[in-house]
């Protein structure tokens, strides 16, 4: 059964986990089907397949980069660009070369993931930056 609600998200209603170590990044995957969340690898597969599709291996940048705010025609387009950015960022964080440890849990309708980086954590704001030296290569 296709779960149309399943997606990586970063909305304000996500469960808040207190991790004071700045080497961590957290991310959240939502689904209305909690049974599926617990028993399947849907969240990680979605990260790789859909998040990876938003990553440009030629430029080592998220594809959404370059969509300047002034180019966004309407709210729906802006939301799509935001969603694509979130997806791409989960992909970058979980595939990042210096990611060293990870942990997962299900809270309510969310898979919560926490990734710790040994060094050179990907910057959440550096979407336009060149992060090639820490991108996994094909």
């Amino acid at each position: 059964m296709t779960d149309s609600t399943a997606k990586w998200d970063n909305v304000d209603s996500k469960p808040s986990i207190s991790l004071t170590d700045t080497n961590f990044e957290q991310m959240w995957f939502y689904s209305s089907d909690t049974t599926a969340l617990m028993s399947e690898t849907k969240s990680v597969k979605d990260m790789y397949t859909n998040g990876g599709a938003q990553y440009d291996w030629a430029t080592w940048k998220c594809k959404v980069v370059g969509t300047a705010a002034t180019d966004v025609a309407d709210a729906a387009t802006a939301k799509k660009a935001y969603d694509d950015m979130v997806l791409c960022n989960q992909f970058r964080q979980l595939m990042w070369t210096t990611a060293s440890t990870v942990a997962f849990a299900v809270r309510d309708n969310w898979v919560v993931a926490a990734v710790k980086f040994s060094s050179n954590k990907p910057s959440l704001t550096a979407y336009a930056g060149d992060f090639g030296t820490n991108s996994a290569t094909l």
Partner: protein
Amino acid sequence: MSVRGAGASSDTTRPDTCFSISFQQTVASKKASLATSGDAMQDWWNGKSEYDSATGAPKSKTSASETASNNYMKMVWKTADKVGFGIEGSWVVAWVCGTTVTASPKTDVIKANVPAKKCQEDTTNPTGSFNVCFNDMLVNQLNTYRREHVTDDVSLDKTVAAELYK
């Protein structure tokens, strides 16, 4: 596109105590990576979604569901203790062997040999309980992807897992 099927051509020497599982890669550009991609194992494992643990049978009577369910069943067969893999043309073939392997096993035999997966808390972790198999499942899947990109594995942080689990 990949195709599950009855198998590659040479299956005549297979012992009766071995299951055969096969996977065909039909995309020409991906055939070269057949030996390194792990696509076959992933495809067989994906058959889990078609296996009904309550009945020991496929979830539907379609050919695709039955093949997928059977592949998963053979992979996790309880008493299987030997396995071998080979590549023949565009096919990956595995033989999974064990003492209770029989051709076309009945559902009661299948249920006894495909034990339900139990996700349970690790209450012995000194920093707190967390769901062991849920983390193992996702960490393994993530590392499968990382290895495809020649990137080091990540390991499970049990302390953080316990923190997230609270």
